[in-house]
Amino acid sequence: MVEGILPVKLDKSRHYFVLFLFFGRHRNQDFSFMQFNPQTKSLYTSEGKLLKKLHCPLRKEWEDLKVLPERQSRLCEACCNKVVDTAFYSEEALVVLLREKPETCLKIELGQENIQIL
């Protein structure tokens, strides 16, 4: 937990100082956060190494994909590929997966816990 004080201006003449408390996830703990840039759609390791740049030429949405019994992926029936939900993968597991199958399609959602948004 981190404490901090931020100035908050509520009207033209007065500032109020608000004490707030950070409750969040620590960097550099036992687990590492992959990094994702929504603008370039690039996924990086916690060390900043590019894992994959996301691009779907068919512009598929997650809701378009066929739900599978396993929660970790869905099926794109257009290209017959599984799309892996990265929320269920650690960085290490994803690195191994992409090394074995670089063409694997990924799903990333802003706000998922294991990813830091750049």
Partner: protein, 153 residues
């Protein structure tokens, strides 16, 4: 920028962008007709950050994802916002091919104006870099996508 042509849907003509007077005039000499536009920052586009500093070593840590906390022994200095897309040139132009037809769908490789592509409440807003558009005879009607929070690819 990397990847733009790869992202263009099949069948759409790619419209290039020239930035600054020199590049625009060079394109005109090559036969393109520049559709010139102002380059003006939008107040909607803002990146947020919190600045922390190590209590003893003085090193600074910036956090853009507000779910994160800094490592131990860092104190909060301040919170701030900045415009993330400063441009060197204040004019830019879409380079129109001579045979562009009204109603034709195109891919704008570099969108000139500031259109928000994605935003989320724990961090930044992200600018639309490329987009599909339709030429209406005088300008491009840009098909701004719904702001995605889920990315596939």
């Amino acid at each position: 920028m990397f990847g733009h042509q790869q992202n263009a849907p099949e069948g759409l003509r790619i419209i290039k962008t020239a930035r600054g007077q020199v590049a625009i005039n060079e394109a005109a000499e090559e036969g393109w007709f520049p559709l010139v536009k102002k380059v003006e920052p939008s107040p909607e586009l803002r990146n947020k950050y919190i600045c922390f500093q190590h209590l003893k070593r003085g090193q600074v840590e910036l956090i853009h994802d507000f779910r994160d906390m800094p490592p131990a022994d860092y104190q909060l200095l301040f919170y701030g916002e900045y415009y993330p897309n400063p441009q060197e040139h204040y004019i830019a132009a879409y380079l129109l091919p001579k045979n562009l037809k009204k109603g034709e769908g195109v891919w704008l490789e570099e969108v000139i104006g500031d259109i928000v592509a994605t935003s989320w409440n724990q961090g930044n807003t992200y600018r639309l870099e490329s987009a599909a558009a339709v030429w209406n005879g005088r300008d491009f009607d840009i098909e701004a996508p719904e702001e995605p929070t889920i990315f596939i690819g």
